[in-house]
Point group: C2
Chain length 305, copies 2
């Protein structure tokens, strides 16, 4: 199985899939469009959320970082005049330091990620979508912002006008990504933001084509439930960009790519409209607020094949 993943929502599903025994038979292709260069470090929030979650280290309350982490270094950075709007825990920092150091020694991001996963005992194959630094820019009424400036510093307040996946078109899919998609019996687009999580992945040359050409089933889980995003600005972005703020709005964005759309029970009424887009609809509880719910949704996806 291959999962295309952003951060928190994807991590829950991927955790469920790993717990259902997929282990090394699962490859997670992770968005790196939310990467940030700050404090001289390469920071990969989505990659780290996936890895920390699979390693059992993630801080569930925050939705990022490491459980029980402290912020002594960040506080000291503030005292030294650094901008400290981006949260950086002391243990989390080790990941960014190690990654940056290995990258500067000539390692690729995929190799670094595999190394970090091995050190943390993560069996699932976590694959960056590409090797390069391709930050997503958010075009807003307050100007063009780096995605993390929009998300963290501006707390998603500016009105969104569009996105720019900087440099993505000059990238190739990361090592192993196209092969994993080609060989997968099922490709799952996780319940992640279609614009800032899944969008950049599908914009990497070769990845959308590989998904479209996959002999396996292609399924997406809606990140919108009852007209709201469970986390993050997906609903706000859909609205500001003129899309229906609904599961159907998301299904339309993925039209032509999907065999199956997994809809939350609360949105069962939208099934006929979504089926008219040319995809099968599966209705399940998609709100992964407990371990049981995560594993149940994972099982539902496994039963598709």
């Amino acid at each position: 199985m291959v999962a295309l993943a952003g951060g928190v929502g994807a991590a829950k599903l991927v955790w469920g899939l790993a717990r259902e025994g997929l282990g090394s038979r699962l490859s997670v292709v992770v968005n790196t469009g939310d990467d940030l260069e700050a404090f001289g470090l390469r920071i990969c929030p989505d990659l780290d959320t996936i890895t920390y979650t699979l390693a059992g280290l993630s801080n569930r309350a925050w939705g990022w970082g490491i459980e029980g982490d402290t912020f002594r270094c960040l506080k000291a950075l503030g005292r030294l005049g650094a901008d400290t709007w981006f949260g950086l825990g002391d243990q989390d920092l080790a990941t960014h330091l190690r990654r940056t150091s290995l990258l500067s020694q000539g390692w690729g991001l995929a190799a670094v990620t595999a190394h970090l996963c091995e050190a943390l005992g993560v069996e699932v194959s976590v694959l960056p979508m590409a090797e390069g630094y391709t930050p997503t820019l958010v075009k807003t009424d307050a100007g063009r912002l780096h995605l993390q400036e929009y998300l963290v510093r501006e707390k998603c307040a500016p009105r969104v006008q569009g996105f720019e996946y900087t440099g993505v078109s000059r990238q190739r899919a990361g090592p192993g990504v196209e092969e994993a998609i080609r060989d997968a019996r099922i490709v799952v687009i996780c319940p992640s933001n279609p614009f800032i999580s899944v969008g950049p992945i599908l914009a990497v040359p070769g990845i959308r084509r590989a998904v479209a050409a996959s002999r396996g089933l292609v399924a997406a889980v809606s990140p919108i439930v009852g007209g709201r995003a469970l986390k993050g600005p997906a609903a706000k972005m859909l609205g500001e960009l003129g899309h229906p703020v609904s599961a159907e709005g998301v299904a339309r964005i993925y039209r032509g790519l999907l065999d199956v759309f997994v809809l939350d029970e609360r949105d069962a009424g939208s099934a006929p409209a979504i089926e008219r887009l040319g995809m099968r609809v599966v209705v399940r509880n998609t709100v992964m607020d407990t371990s049981g719910a995560k594993r149940a949704l994972a099982r539902a996806l496994l039963r598709l094949v």
Copy 2:
């Protein structure tokens, strides 16, 4: 006043001088031959010891780092497969991150140091001996080691055969260094290791010449008291390199450069022999184990001019 400084011993004296009211009239030219590049960061132990001590942040028990610092990031780095023999506190790390980040933006080390000093409220002018990265290598019976490998990783165990001040001869004195020495009424060589702290400073082209040409008094405080170094491997190095393991052994190394040699009371008997080297001897308590002792030694130096 100008002080030529290594780490802990120098920091005590410089602290005393600052407390005696010198403030911005004191320039400290600091060894950067003990700098290390590790974890992708530029680490300047002597510079930081001086700065932290003047800022009232230093950890006196360790002789390096910040009082009350924690090691969560270092521990996490170890979990990720990094070599962790070099201690790196969470707050201390902020200094290295900020320095490395500003250097990579094109700042010079002197400008970075001034910025950090200002942020920490340090009035004394702390001047790196030079702008470049010029690590001291220790030639030993266990091979050529980076100074920090010798000091920290190998705990000074290998037998020393010599030193290599890598790249120093291609450096120029750091901004402000030669001017400060030229204009000083007194240049003090702090009670620091003559080989690995003061040696690299005097090896920077222009600095030894500026000290020799200074119109002010040139004084050194012995780092050897009663045949022992108060801290670090100075006595071991003197012995292994065939020098007398005594204050006189140090005075011989600085011969031709000094007007005054400050000797500890315990070594008063060596005064005649040292005076025969062509320098005046001043006998004082040089063991700066209390705030009072630091300030008293500072006052003794100020009374020289």
